[in-house]
Subunit: 394 residues, 2 copies
């Protein structure tokens, strides 16, 4: 089979705000083959910047775009997906955005191979005898603007049946320690003592590991499962200083990893206990799976980072479904209509409160192209006299 088309699509809500809500727009990638199989992937990244990586003119041998790397290529099995990943990254060696952008293509290629071989992706990764274990979904939401609003959000999630929830960004870290503690208390009280809560500080303390340590101590009485991203993604020395003090709450980080080395650096030198990987940023399923293996070697828990549609959620889950001990799943419980409506199938929370994959081939989740049409922002790019990108049909 050969790759016949590689098309990125920019979708967006009519109005976009500066809230830390990554579901307001998205970049989908569709790959088609000459046998009529088509696969889809989603990037968690700037749609326009990533789209440019699919069509940018060649600068030299290290700046060659993704379409150029893929179209016409042979695609028959998992080895081809790995080979094409290596090729696209080598051709894009000097394109910093290549990992963010290629993520959607890599996911789409796995989706195609799964369909071709009639296998769910997790079984292509972990072998014929692998089982897809269900995970405990934690609702991933933003803090309310106040402790009271946060309490209401937490209480509503509890009513909806969530036994775990992560609260993040918004006011956390911006109005002093007392307010930070009040936010965490509200999350705990709203969710109840039997639930898991996670706190996402949204990189708010930069390199200030002393502040991060103080907050970990202050939050410990509310028993959060982890304190997430207290520091900047690149502040590995600060993470190291923090972890050496053995903070009383486990530290989680990694969503900003745009390469496997960034995740490895956090694991080896940052001393984190949970590594959170966004399959739509790090280069797709291929790279996320490598980080899962690294986490297994280092006895760190692998968790997905997902704040997009259920297409991304499914791609994320295939990466670590086969590992029973990696038992938590970030589950987008809020988000735009675009992200909620984008897929035909959903990964619903089961009666047992768990979320799992089906044995459908590929991702097992398909894009609703009517919804896509409704949110499509057609892109046209001209360089010199040449139109290098225009909207594709679907």
């Amino acid at each position: 089979m050969r790759i016949s088309a590689v098309d990125p699509f920019y979708l967006k809500m009519p109005h976009i705000t500066d809230a830390a809500d990554g579901t307001q727009d998205t970049l989908l990638v569709r790959i088609r083959t000459d046998e009529g199989i088509e696969g889809w992937g989603e990037c968690d990244a700037s749609p326009l910047v990533s789209l440019a990586v699919y069509c940018c003119p060649m600068s030299h041998g290290n700046i060659i775009n993704i379409r150029e790397s893929l179209i016409g290529e042979t695609l028959d099995g998992p080895d081809d997906v790995l080979r094409l990943h290596a090729k696209a990254l080598r051709n894009g060696l000097d394109i910093q955005q290549i990992h963010h952008a290629y993520s959607g293509a890599d996911i789409a290629l796995w989706d195609i191979i799964g369909q071709k071989l009639d296998e769910p992706i997790y079984r292509l990764l972990d072998g014929q005898s692998a089982n897809a274990h269900t995970k405990l979904p934690y609702a991933s939401v933003l803090f309310g603007d106040t402790p009271e609003a946060t309490y209401q959000i937490a209480a509503r999630l509890r009513e909806q049946g969530y036994r775990a929830a992560k609260f993040g960004w918004g006011p956390m870290g911006k109005f002093g320690e007392d307010n930070d503690i009040a936010l965490v208390r509200a999350a705990r009280e709203g969710m109840g003592t039997d639930a898991q809560i996670m706190i996402d500080a949204g990189v708010v303390w930069g390199e200030a590991h002393e502040t991060a340590y103080a907050r970990a101590k202050a939050f410990a009485p509310f028993a959060p499962t982890w304190l997430e991203e207290p520091l900047a993604p690149d502040a590995i020395e600060a993470y190291s200083a923090l972890s050496k003090r053995n903070p009383p709450v486990p530290i989680a980080a990694g969503e900003g990893s745009g390469t496997s080395r960034m995740a490895e650096d956090l694991i080896r030198h940052g001393g984190i206990q949970f590594v959170q990987i966004d399959v739509g940023r790090i280069g797709g399923i291929t790279v996320a799976y490598r980080v899962r293996q690294l986490a297994e070697q280092h006895e760190v828990q692998y968790v997905n980072h997902t704040f997009k549609s259920h297409l991304s959620l499914a791609a994320s889950l295939h990466v670590f479904a086969a590992n029973e001990s990696f038992d938590l799943l970030e589950y987008p419980a809020a988000g735009s209509k675009l992200s909620q409506r984008l897929t035909v199938e959903k990964l619903a929370v089961g009666h047992d409160g768990q979320v799992g994959l089906t044995d459908a081939p590929g991702l097992g989740v398909r894009v609703d192209t009517e919804v896509m049409q409704a949110y499509l922002a057609p892109v046209r790019i001209q360089v010199g006299s040449e139109v290098i990108f225009g909207p594709a049909d679907f």
Copy 2:
């Protein structure tokens, strides 16, 4: 003073090949202020992908473009340049390409402040008492396709008066050890025994540190100053394994550093002896200067990576001109007409064979806008019904 305009310009040669020649196109960034001062910077990155970072629509609070971060901002001194760097990177937290793209803006801002305060940039960085030391330029060229062609290139550089030259990419690592050795021998014989030669393997051995070690041993009799990028930019564990064996040729790397952490990771864990920073990739003068300081702390030699015009060369040199012991300068000795003609002033090789800065304010090198016009590729980007980028006047 306030920033009134931020304009990226895509320049390119009429015909672009896949040779590892980064001078075939470029992205210039011009920043204007309400006091009429204008500054320029150059990125060593995909022009289109980087340009998209200047104009991409907001996705949420972590994907906000560079223009949005800068236009209207106060700009009066070096502190503002540092503040704006932090702001733009925070606003672009989830744009992987932000560092490559912002490099040009950061350089342009330093250029403006130098002009405003009537000081060369190196003195803004290192203080009033700093001296700009001259450096030994090493001609940076590609290997010829054969040892014989490489010999001819080396002999010509020697005739031109170069006392140091770096040979890279092309056939190196692609046709077996004997050919690799023949290439290095040809470079040494062409340059003569009294010259410095450097070997740039162009990441050809990926993660194969055993091969890199074997080549370092095989090249040692020809006494190269360093073996550069034998391994992939992200293969820090492989660099670590290589350096622990104490190869008989010093190891250089770092041009692929798109963040200061990537350079820090190479220095702390990769065990390199020379760290090579491209001011047009790592986020500009602000970040390159931080890596210089880190190199000083770790007793590693800082070297520029420059394969662009003399605008980039000047920006690179300001970063470490004041440190006398960092005495080598990568000097683009070949390259396209675009890169050779782009600046009004050149950093010429002096009678003593050295290259230095003048005391002209800012970068001390200006763009020739007539040359620019000749190579300009106007870009137009439409998202939905809106034209979000069109060519600016100059």
